[in-house]
């Protein structure tokens, strides 16, 4: 859906999305990386299970909710990536204790 401009010279960072290695750049947010990954990163909602992707990318819509390093329902558009970060796509309601 999105692709990187060649002028981007920021250092590479690797994160994992549902266990699969995904290339990122330092300073990217989790949501930006997901949208640029080319993978199916749709979450499903806690209400009806409908598929969603990030909508606003500025912290207001909560459609970017994602599990980051084992913590559920984080706003992926506000969290910068870090080397080795484990991201999981959420399906439905968050599990308690995660």
């Amino acid at each position: 859906m999105f692709r990187r401009s060649e002028q981007d010279k920021r250092p590479q960072v690797q994160i994992f999305v549902d266990g699969v290695a995904v290339a990122a750049r330092q300073g990217d947010t989790v949501s930006a990386v997901l949208l640029a990954s080319g993978q199916d990163v749709r979450r499903s909602t806690a209400v009806s299970g409908a598929p969603r992707l990030p909508y606003c990318m500025m912290g207001v819509c909560f459609d970017c909710l994602v599990t980051i390093d084992g913590v559920g329902n984080r706003q992926g558009c506000l969290v910068p990536v870090a080397e080795g970060m484990q991201v999981e796509i959420q399906k439905g309601k968050r599990e308690i204790g995660r």
Partner: protein
Amino acid sequence: MSREYDVAVVGGGLLGSAIAWGLGRLGKSVAVLDEGDITKRASRANFALVWVQSKGLGMPAYTVWTVQASQAWGRLASELKQQTGLDVALQQNGGFHLTLGEDEFGQRTELVKRMHNQTGAADYKMEMLPASEVKKSLPLIGSEVSGGSYCPLDGHVNSLRTFRAFHTGFREFGIDYFPEQPVSAISKSGGEFRLTTPKGELRAAKIVLAAGNANQTLAPMVGLHAPMGPTRGQIVVTERTMPFLPHPLTTIRQTDEGTVMIGDSKEDELDDRALKHSISAVMTDRAQRMFPHLARLNVVRSWAGIRVMPHDGFPIYDQSETHPGAFVACCHSGVTLASNHAFEIARMVAQGALEPELVGAFSASRFGGAGTANNSGY
């Protein structure tokens, strides 16, 4: 607006709505007069328990009344479902009051003992359980939980959906709902009541005052008395999570939607716009000590509500001597007692008289002059 109704119900919250719905169910022509969008509405702020344990210390009749309501709730839920298609998610598989540490366990044990000594016939099987027993029903409890009381009659419901179901049912029963029409004056002439609202006068053969704490000012207009002592309660709610809590607790419940509600304080404050985070902190701290898994959930909202609270904590149901046909109803437990309001109170209002053997104990005459301290056991 000058139609005549069999009954005008003043107040469209859960209590007024239940009575109005019950009257409509009996074929009465009913008008419900309500406030607008911004109002101190306990029906939107409540904790949604259908709760029996510990109710009625100091007034056995209240225990009996509560047990009856709990038992009639299933019928109410199924009638609402049948009429409106709305499932109010009634769950009555027993509820807990958990204690943290030995002191709290001891205090709760004392309370259970006192309740047993008092209730007699209406024994509702409230019992103390050690933590090891509690854990069988609530496997995720934390190590600080010392045990708790359990009552098999306890449960909870989706109270907002119940509210919506009553209002949806109004249409089916031909009940006229008039929001944005608070009542400022009531008089009786020519055998009927005249209620003054901002949009004109409404006439009805009978009236039921179900306006929450506002009953305090409305009741004297028709020779009734409703001494209230409202308090503020705060509630915190989390995001939706997978089901983890199979039973409701006095202060924690998981809704059918998946959110976790955490209550509830009792404060001598009547401003429902302001919140005290330090109080929410006590509530959430206790909640995470009871269920450590809760710690990582996100709190999405919190709110304060003003309890409708008769002065001694017990309901008031009364009828006017000076203005026959005028009734007053107010109580704190508008969710728990909704079934009684829909079936019993509505039936008695339709008949024209409250039955002393059923609700005589709840007459405001019990207050005499000065009110007594709140000891509802709530």
